[in-house]
C-alpha cells in the first residue's frame, strides 16, 4: 500500500445557484507504473490509483478511469454545476483496494 496518501481538494466555499465552479484535486501517490525496475533489476509491481470520482449530493460530476500513464501525485481540474447548497465528495480508489476520501461543503447564497 502506498504510504502517506493525502488528498487535497480546492472548492470555493460559496456559489450562486446554478453557478459553474472550478474544482482542483491533487493526491500524493507514487503511481508506480509497473514499467520500472528496482536496483536488482526486478520489475516493481504496478500500484496506482485507478479511479477517481467526484459527486455532489450523491450525483456524479466526473468519474475518471486512470491508467499508469497518469503522473505521480495525480492532479485533476474540472468544472461542476452547483444547483443548491450541499457537499462535494471525492473518492480515489487504489489498486490495493484502499479508498481515499475527502469532502467539501459549499453554500448557495
Amino acid at each position: 500500500m502506498a504510504e502517506n496518501v493525502t488528498p487535497r481538494v480546492r472548492v470555493p466555499k460559496e456559489a450562486a445557484a446554478g453557478e459553474v465552479i472550478t474544482i482542483k484535486t491533487l493526491i500524493s501517490h507514487p503511481m508506480e507504473s509497473g514499467q520500472r525496475k528496482d536496483k536488482e533489476g526486478n520489475l516493481i509491481p504496478r500500484s496506482i490509483i485507478n479511479r477517481f470520482t467526484c459527486a455532489f449530493n450523491g450525483e456524479t460530476v466526473i468519474d475518471v478511469a486512470m491508467e499508469p500513464a497518469i503522473s505521480t501525485n495525480p492532479y485533476f481540474e474540472f468544472q461542476a454545476k452547483v444547483p443548491q447548497s450541499g457537499t462535494f465528495t471525492f473518492t480515489w480508489i487504489d489498486d490495493d483496494g484502499s479508498t481515499y476520501e475527502d469532502s467539501k461543503d459549499i453554500a448557495v447564497a
Binding site: N4, T6, R8, K24, L26, T72
Partner: protein, 286 residues
Amino acid sequence: MRQTLRTGAARVMLGLAGSAALATGAIAQEANLVIDGEIEIVTRAPAPDHMENVSEIVSGWEYRSPETQAVQMDDFENPGMIGVDNARADFSAAMGPDGQSCAACHDNPESLEGARAVYPKWDETKGEVQTLEMQVNECVTERAGAEAWNYTGTRMTEMIALISSVSRGLPVNVAIDGPAQPTWEQGKEIYYTRYGQLELACANCHEDNYDNMIRADHLSQGQINGFPTYRLKNGKLNAVHNRFKGCVRDTRAQTFAPGSPEFVALELYVASRGNGLSVEGPSVRN
C-alpha cells in the same frame, strides 16, 4: 534567448507606476512570478558585488517552460506543497524522550520566517558554518534528544521546504564576511574547480553557459534560492545537496557527500550568488 533585461529596480518602479515603463533602455515588466496572486518573487536582480563575471542574477524559474512555470504560481498545483503540509503536521509531532517538538520552542512555522534567507550561517557556539539542515538536526538531537534525521531524507527535506515556504518573497541574504569568510572562500574554490573525467567546474555550465542549451535543456545559473525543489523528473522534493551530488556525478567524478564540509561550503557560496533573489522554495523545476 531573452531579449529583455529586467531588473529588480525596474520592477519596483513598475509596481509603483502600475503600468509598463521604460527603465535604462530596457523594457520593464511586472514581477513574472507571483504565487497565489500574493507572494511576489524577484526572479532577476543585479548580481551581488562579489560576482565578477555576471551582471544579473536570474532564478531558475525563468529558464523553465510556461507550463512548468505555471505549476509554481499556484500553491495548490505545486506538488511540493504536499511536502510542506506533511512537515506542518510534523512540526508539532512529539520526538525524543521528553516528547519535544519543533512547536515546543518555535510555536508555529511562521515564527521561523526569515531563517531560510540567511542560511547557511556562522554558528558561534559550534564554531562553524551551519546549513539549515544542520540547524534542524541540532534541534532534533540536542534539544529534543531524538535521533538525527537523514540529511537528505524525506522528513528533513519536507521540513526545509516548510521553513523555506514561510520565507518566500524575502531576499536571500547570506553573510559571506566575518567568521564565515574562510568557508565561503572554500566554496568559491570548489565552484571554480574542474571535477571528474569531463573536467567540468560548476562555473563552466552555470556561469559561462547559462541561457545556452545543453542538449534540449535550457541551462540556468544554478541558483539555489528555490530549494528544496519539486522536480518533474522524479516527482518529489529534492534537497540542494542531492542536486549538487547529481551535478558532480554527471562530471563523472566521485562526489562529496550530502552534509559534507565541502558541500556546506559550496552551498554557502552558491547561496551568496543568489543574494538579492527571493527565497522561492519549494520551487518547481524540470
